[in-house]
Symmetry: C2
Subunit: 203 residues, 2 copies
């Protein structure tokens, strides 16, 4: 595609490098920005630049943070005894939004996936060891994807640390709230029968 201007071509090129955004969408976004007050584009551009330059990683849990230690890890209201092991920051946000979890987190930074060339060495597994040797932790909760890679990652970590006197648990798999049984997949339905819970009228 030929663009009437080199700065436009450059912007379209950069925007279309983002995942899921093609040339046509990039052009639409660029034309949208050109119709806005110029402060809008300056705000967007600067926020992207400062995102990458200013963000820090929490030394404890590897979450993104504005400080050396993130707000969750430095909070006295959160228990040190339970650590939830997740793949990335989106999972932390999702679990925080439930308001049901009061422990801390550990972000692996991915899952073991030979297909994508990700092995255990690329993940933040040494931090699990560090948490263990600190001695406060009583339980690790796996909150990983319900996929082959997620299961492999949980199994690898479990096998590596099963001799320590820490409990390992996994978030419950089953039928989502609002799901109709007839449309549920067999594996989830099967697991939800095997792992059935005592009936609780408050649920």
């Amino acid at each position: 595609m030929d663009y009437p201007s080199k700065v436009l071509a450059k912007a379209v090129d950069e925007i279309s490098g983002l995942p899921g955004i093609g040339k046509k969408t990039a052009l639409r976004l660029a034309l949208h920005l050109l119709k806005q007050p110029s402060s809008r584009a300056a705000g967007l551009g600067n926020s992207i630049i400062s995102l990458v330059n200013e963000i820090k990683y929490c030394k404890e849990c590897h979450n993104f943070s504005d400080f050396e230690i993130c707000e969750i890890c430095s909070s006295h209201k959160r228990s040190d005894e339970v650590i939830c092991i997740v793949e990335d920051v989106r999972d932390v946000i999702a679990i925080e939004n439930t308001g049901k979890y009061t422990g801390k987190y550990l972000i692996l930074g991915g899952k073991i996936s030979p297909m994508e060339g990700v092995g255990p060495n690329q993940l933040n597994i040494p931090s699990i060891e560090k948490k263990l040797s600190a001695g406060n932790v009583k339980e690790f909760i796996f909150a990983l994807s319900a996929t082959m890679e997620g299961d492999t990652t949980a199994y690898y970590i479990y096998k590596k640390f099963k001799n320590s006197d820490v409990k390992f648990s996994s978030i419950a798999r089953g039928i989502s709230v609002g799901d109709e049984l007839e449309y549920a997949d067999e594996i989830s339905l099967g697991r939800s029968i095997v792992n059935r819970l005592p009936y609780n009228e408050k649920d």
Copy 2:
């Protein structure tokens, strides 16, 4: 949604201000940028800022340009006698990609749409008058959307300038190449019968 970092929250907020991009997609894009080398985000951010600051509008046709007069308007290979009237720069790019047009353009910057509060005064209609008084133009081609607004805009311009001795034409409406007749809408099919062309074996 609570984000673990203020710079992340700011970036997500700015990115999700773009049309068609929600908070979840914005977060995905921000996390993608954080996984890339920081030069990638700097390139993207700076290209967006310079897009808005450095781009110029061609004084002749109102297309985006790096110069006062765009490449098409300043080209000696393009005829001054035929002017294609389009809504915005995407239409210019689309027509240029066909390689079938050798005249020049005039970008209206929209179409008359009372629903969106766009009247003739917001469009670049004075430029049509300017082209007319310059005296070179022999034909204006309307290449506007096949919608009520596009038709209204063409009609408004035609009515305003019909007394000048310039020809007005409109791009052909009909059945697209590759379309099956049975799935074509009645209006396009009807127009394509009314405006049938002599059979040409080279088409």
